[in-house]
């Protein structure tokens, strides 16, 4: 997309609103749906990667030290990672206003 979605006029759209740029869904900030967020505690994390496997959004990545954390641009705050974590290293906290 040449412009962000909020800047596009009806004249900017391809015919039939066809998306001709493969993979541009990565520009969509699903993180703004979130009402709660995961907090990762690296002291408890055993780097097993179960959160990474279960995350339905595919937004959990390993950082430079090998600990897992969510990319909040995409994380919808569903809480599945916290539920699945063996080591109880993830807590879900409400988003502040």
């Amino acid at each position: 997309m040449t412009k962000p979605e909020g800047m596009l006029t009806w004249k900017d759209l391809n015919i039939g609103s066809i998306v001709a740029e493969p993979g541009n869904a990565s520009q969509y900030q699903t993180g703004d749906w979130r009402s709660q967020r995961p907090i990762f505690d690296s002291r408890k994390c055993i780097k097993c990667g179960i959160c990474y496997i279960f995350c339905p959004e595919g937004c959990i990545e390993q950082n430079a030290e090998g600990y897992f954390e969510a990319n909040l641009f995409y994380c919808k705050g569903c809480g599945i990672c916290a539920r699945e974590c063996w080591a109880k290293a993830i807590t879900i906290v409400p988003e502040e206003e």
């Binding site: 979605e5 909020g6 596009l8 006029t9 009806w10 004249k11 900017d12 759209l13 391809n14 015919i15 039939g16 609103s17 066809i18 998306v19 001709a20 493969p22």
Partner: protein
Amino acid sequence: MAKGVGIEVSLAVAEAAKLANVDAVAAYPITPQTHIVEHLAELVANGELDAAYIPVESEHSAMSACLGASAVGARTFTATAGQGLELMHEVLYVASSMRLPVVMAVANRALSAPLSVWGDHSDVMAVRDTGWIQIFVENGQEAVDNVLCAFRIGEDPRVLLPVMIHLDGFHLSHMIEPIVFPEQSEVDKFIPPFQHPLPLHPDRPVTMGAFAPPIIYSEAKKAQEVNLEASRGIILQCWDEFGKTFKRYYSPVECYHSDDAKVLLLTLGSFSETAMTAIDKMRGEGKSVGVIRLRLWRPFPFAEIRQAVRNTEVLIVLDRAISFGGPGGPVCSEVRSALYGEDKKPKVIGFVGGLGGRDVTPAGFEEIINKGIEISKRGSDREFEIFGVRE
């Protein structure tokens, strides 16, 4: 030289799709449309038409398969009627919104319940707002001609919209009429090859029908509306070009003795021919009556309607569908709306008739006109009347 042959109109519609050299047909049989797709299946099976014929388990699937075919750039045709059209309903919006120029013949049929396989316009009116170009035809020749025009209009790169050709179930679909089929070479020249600008193709991946959040949906709908509006000019150009090539002329509103008529009847579809017979008789008796026939239903021909009724005092509209609990027939309601802002406008009197295959004879049309004149004089406490109903 093109020659006339006697043929059932349904089969003639299938022959027109063959002349247009369709690439793909996905269809499900339903009365009174069955003969159209049955004949196309024969043409494909016999090797007379080189097309993919996709048998499906429902009309919902038929239209969905048509979308897929059209999306890769195939010239695509289907046909349906009544309940079948309603089962397609949600997919019809997708065809127009994704700008896929599927051409569909609809053998107009009443909707259940009670079950009726016979003709009226309940099915059409329920899909009024689906964003398709919609054209009514009155006889077999018009059906053939407009199926050909539908491909040229819909596939025009400035249009890229699906087109419905409405022909009355049984009253027209099952008639045997003399039809002049244009020569293949002339049709090939008239309908250029279809080239979708952004087709589905593995070399250049695209997403059709993607998800649109509130921030972009309004823009998508505005673009669609502007596009359907802009198709008017191209429809007129196509009919003009068709006339020059094949010497048969079409316009959005067809007028018959309407210029000087104080009373005008507005009809659509095959009933218009019967109405003209009634007008001939009444004209012979010195009555100032005429008929206007709505050919182009979407986009609605506002300017042409206003022009056609500018000198008339009473406009009687015959709908073949009811908008239950609403302002009467859908056509009458739209005509009233189109004239509301005019300084000089006729009184608009609404009738609903010809439901579920009920005939309206020339004598019936005479009665509708006389009754309409009477109502226009005394006023009416109802929005519309159902003609011919036994009280």
